[in-house]
Symmetry: none
Subunit: 141 residues, 2 copies
DNA sequence: TTGCGTGCAAAGGTTTTGCATGGCA
DNA sequence: TGCCATGCAAAACCTTTGCACGCAA
């Protein structure tokens, strides 16, 4: 448990990546988003490196990984060292237009609590996605 | 809204597939499992057909689809008969033991209403699966 | 000098799609 | 006959892996 001696060398890519992640705050991003960000600044970081670094950070608990579905890339989010679960939220995905809504709402936290206390079920918000229709698509229908 | 006229023709493949699904009961399976099952009986059904049929059944709410992780195929489970169709309910899937819970609960209906009224999002309970830990697995942990 | 981290390209696996053919009504 | 469903193969997609090279310590 207490032996997290993995990253022995510091590299420029690690540093660049980490500072980018921190700047994102609670915003999600995919591995490809990261690559594009640096590419637009004429900095090239291989996608394999990005995946490898993100995987490491996920293992260390510094980054959260969200599983959306088979058709979209995994999303990542940097979590502050101080309170990792501060930014807990749920995902809503529109079945029609595919938009991913990122919802922080006290009522949903209530539901989470309700399911735990009354039904004994503890929801994992990192994997759970609520499917339905977003506001725009509902109006169009 | 009321025009769900999709599957106009009945085919042998549809019939074979559906009878297989029903026999699985609460066991879940992948598209590839289905293909192999028929292949072992010298019946060949194209994998594309299996995906297309499953997708249709998911849309109709007769089959639930689970997303385990990025590296494994999606799992499906026939639920039409075990689902209380008269009552709106949600599905909870235990990430550890895999049990599927059908949950009818007034508070969840409240949530549905809340999301509709406050956030403009209308959840589709057929499609949505809440992932987490069931009561038994929580106690073991 | 040692050996980890990187980058490239290729591989891996699942799911979708284009198009011609077959089969239901 | 008209049109949907099927099957095949190819494509699309995200992610991982093998290997040679560069760079940190």
């Amino acid at each position: 448990m207490g032996n997290v001696v993995k990253s022995t060398y510091k590299t420029k890519q690690q540093e660049l990546l980490l500072s980018y992640l921190k700047k994102q705050g609670s915003v999600h991003f995919t591995a490809e988003d990261v690559r594009r960000h640096f590419a637009s600044k004429e900095i090239s970081i291989g996608i394999a490196t990005i995946y490898r670094q993100l995987e490491k950070l996920v293992a260390e608990g510094k980054v959260q990984k969200y599983f959306i579905d088979e058709h979209s890339a995994a999303c990542f989010q940097y979590v502050a060292e101080s309170c990792p679960h501060d930014e807990e939220h749920f995902h809503l995905k529109c079945e029609k237009c595919g938009v991913l809504v990122h919802l922080e709402c006290d009522e949903l936290s209530e539901i989470k609590k309700h399911l735990e206390e009354e039904h004994g079920f503890s929801i994992n918000p990192f994997r759970t996605v609520l499917y339905g229709l977003c506001e725009k698509c509902r109006k169009l229908a």
